[in-house]
Structures are given as C-alpha cells and as structure tokens.
Symmetry: C2
Amino acid sequence: MPSAPAFKTSPTQGLLAGPDVDLASIRPRSTPGFSGGKKKGKAKLAEGNAQLSDLQEKLFAESRFGSEISLLVVLQAMDTAGKGGIVRHVVGAVDPQGVKHYAFKAPTRAEKRHDFLWRVRKQLPGPGIIGVFDRSHYEDVLIQRVRGMAEPATIEERYGIIRDFEAGLTESGTRIIKVMLHISPEEQKERLTERLKRKDKHWKYNTGDLDERQLWDEYQVAYQIAIERTATPDAPWYVVPADRKWYARIAVQQLIIDALQDMQLSWPRADFDVAAEKARLANS
Amino acid sequence: MPSAPAFKTSPTQGLLAGPDVDLASIRPRSTPGFSGGKKKGKAKLAEGNAQLSDLQEKLFAESRFGSEISLLVVLQAMDTAGKGGIVRHVVGAVDPQGVKHYAFKAPTRAEKRHDFLWRVRKQLPGPGIIGVFDRSHYEDVLIQRVRGMAEPATIEERYGIIRDFEAGLTESGTRIIKVMLHISPEEQKERLTERLKRKDKHWKYNTGDLDERQLWDEYQVAYQIAIERTATPDAPWYVVPADRKWYARIAVQQLIIDALQDMQLSWPRADFDVAAEKARLANS
C-alpha cells in the first residue's frame, strides 16, 4: 500500500542519532527526507494514522495469543516543542485500549525515596501495548544535570544504569524508540508568546518555563551528552527537527510505523477449531 | 454551536434507566431520539468528537489549576455489543493524555484476596481525567450472580456497597455515567459469525463467549436487577440500544458531552501576572 506523499529517506535512517551526534548541526526548521510542505504533511499524517491503527491492532491481537512484545516511545524535549501535539495527533489515532500514556512530572517525595527507575518501571507497557513516555528517566540526566540536583558522580553513573535498564527491556520484548524533539529558542519564544496572548492557552503556561529557557545552552549540552552516552542499536535515539509541528508529527509517526512493521506482526491463528465453533454457534 | 444532525431528545433524558426500568421492553434495534440513519449518525459522530475533544481539554485544563473533578464512564454489555467500538471511535477522539482506560478481566488470584472494589479503586480517574471502565465492579453482580460464583447473600450485599461506593465518588468530584449496551441475541449471533468468518477477527473470538450466550436470559435478569438496585440520581444508568453500532456510538458520545457540559467548564484564569510574563519573555 504505497502512500501518495512519502518520505524519500525514512526518519528511521535519516534522523538516527548515534554516539557521534552533533546536535548543534541539526537545523530545527529542516524537514529531512520529506519533500512536501505542510499540506502534503497533513495528508501524510492522515494516511499514516490509518496504517498505524492497523499495525497497533495486530500488535494487540498477538498479545492475546501469548506474544509478549510491546513498544515504548520516549519523548523528550524543551518546553513547547510539541510533545503534547504528538500524543494528541499521532498516538491519539490509535485505539486507547492499546496505549499506555504517562507524563512524568517532578518526582514526588515518595518517588524520591526510591532509585530513579522505580517510578519508570511501574509505567512500562505490558504485552501488546504501545507505551508513551512524555518525559522519562532521561529527566534524571537532563534537568538534574543542568540544575545540579544530583552529584556529578551520580549523574555519571546513571547513563550506564539507563543503558542496562533499556537493554533488559529490549531483551524481554519491549522495542524502544527515543525521540528528542528539537526546537530552536526563537520558535519557543513564539510559542510561549502565543500561550500568553490567548486566554484559552494560559493554562499551558508555566512561569517556570522561562527559568528553564534561560538555561537553553546548558540543556543542549545535557541532551548532547545523554544521546552520546545512551544511543545504542537496541534503544536508538532520533533527533526530530520540531520547529515545524507538522513535520515532527509525521516523522515520529513514521518512526513508530517502521518499528511496528519491523516486528513482522500478523493476525494470530485461531487456537480453537473454527468449524466446530461455527457449528456450535449455528445451533445456539 | 448547533449541530446539523442532532438528537431531538438527548440520550441523557431518553435513555435514562431508573429503578423502574423494564429491560425487556427496550428494543435493541431502535434509535431513540435520533431521526436520521447511519449516514447522519456518522456525521453526528464526527461533529460530536470535535465538541468532546474541546470539553475534555477544558476539564483537563481546570485540573491543572486545582479543580478535582473528573468523569467516569462505566461500560457494561454482553459480548460483541460494541464496548470496544465505543472506546475506539468515541473515547479515541479525546487526547490520550486526558483518558484513563481500563479493561477489567476475570479477577486474578491476588485480586480475589481483597474485597471486590479493591482493584476498582486503583483504576479510578484522577482530577481532570475521563476514566473509562470496560467492564467494572458490576461484573461482581452480573457474571458472579449468573454463574453462582458468590453466595446469594454476598451478591445481595454488594448492591448496597456499590451504591455507597459510587455516592462517595460523586461526593469527591467524580461524575459517573453507567452504560449498558443493549443488543439482541440475533445481532450477537451475526457478530460472532462474522468473527469466525474473518481470519483477522479470529483473535477477538473467545470460545467462552458461546457459554455465556447460553445464559442470555439469566444475564438479562441480572442486568435488570443491577439497574433496579443501583440506579441513583448521582450515578445514573443508561440503557443504550446497540444493535446499530453507529447509534450506540453517538448515544454514548452525547451522554459524555452532556455530562461535561453540565459541569460548566471554563478556561482557567491565569494565576500569574500575564503582562509581567510577557515582558520577561520579550527580554529572554
């Protein structure tokens, strides 16, 4: 089923960020691998959503017949970069039954009493489920690094702990995709301005966002290091240019579609005698 | 914002099932309150989804500013009645961030060690969230009654426990809507036949469904009693004719829309100095 507007190079190749990533060289307004503009992007989104919905149903169906596989999408970004829009417009196309979405906030007092992965483990997707982390354990090496909320040695340790954690997840059947939505400070300024202008957007505005904004460069460094240290073949990072919302959405959508297609999902074969059931039903 | 195709009588009035309900008199193929057919129904669904999405965002926004209210939709039905379709096509229109969906299965051994509401309490929606129960604590007075899985006296007790439980929820800010999707045995037969015919539907077929089907009349009695005993003004039951999928979807959608509209949601007022933030942002 070839789609009308398509990626020339899939984001799975084109946006892959390995240990040698150079964040500063990636242009937030670019649209790698896609030649159309906003209009074609929207058509692609609609078409991809149908594809995604189909693949998700197979993933879910297989789990009802004993498959243990699942998918985990980690979304990380500066404020206003569009995590929410991805959740609404891409993840939202999928049957709610097959999605586990969780937004990590600043850790509570109870959460702080445990190791930093404790709360993360509780939100992992079960078999057949697409898990979506809006922020994640990466906050523990991003804001915590930038803000000095943990000892440098502790932060250093965490990269390895995260790699091991993710390797374990992969081994137990959870495919992982890690996405950094990459926006420019100029674009963020516009989006924050919009939130302040519209009364129906005030609720999305957080005065703390401006404090983080002052630390823009420090965050870029923290992201750069996090990706360098935790990009592995099994739990890859993708840097998605996000100044154009429509592009970020179709790019993440394609990453999810590619991952699911790579799982070679199929409709489970009946584990019952179809003919016998037909006869039973006819007589009921 | 008047919609083109609309209910003459809203399901909130028309489908309300009080303690005097007579389930047997409600025709599963009927489409109470709606004069159009399938085509108009689909238009209504699309339009209602936009409305619903808007209302949900306000509910969610208010919770960010201290509101504690939430909505809980309980879905109960015979197999194939369309719970899944409601979740996919109605609930699916809402931002996944604002939805907590949970499908209750047969209780696990661990769950059985607790009172029957224990596992239910853990799945309640938090502030600002629309909770959707696909099956619920009502299984404990439906299948458990029909199958004699608990002592009659225990079952009897449960109606009162449920009423108290739901009254407590309402008091703490959770609005409750209880829906029984009402299909006919003939329609169920067709839908099961379809599942057996199509290889991509086999995974939805459960040989146990036919066993429950043999107990159709007993289930109707159990539903009738459950509604009689637990229909309260604060936690109302609605019996939704469900032989026509399109109708059941717009009816449940309208029930949710009406409940949210009745909450008189509005965009929260900024709890910060908008002008000061604008100035700070401009200088950042």
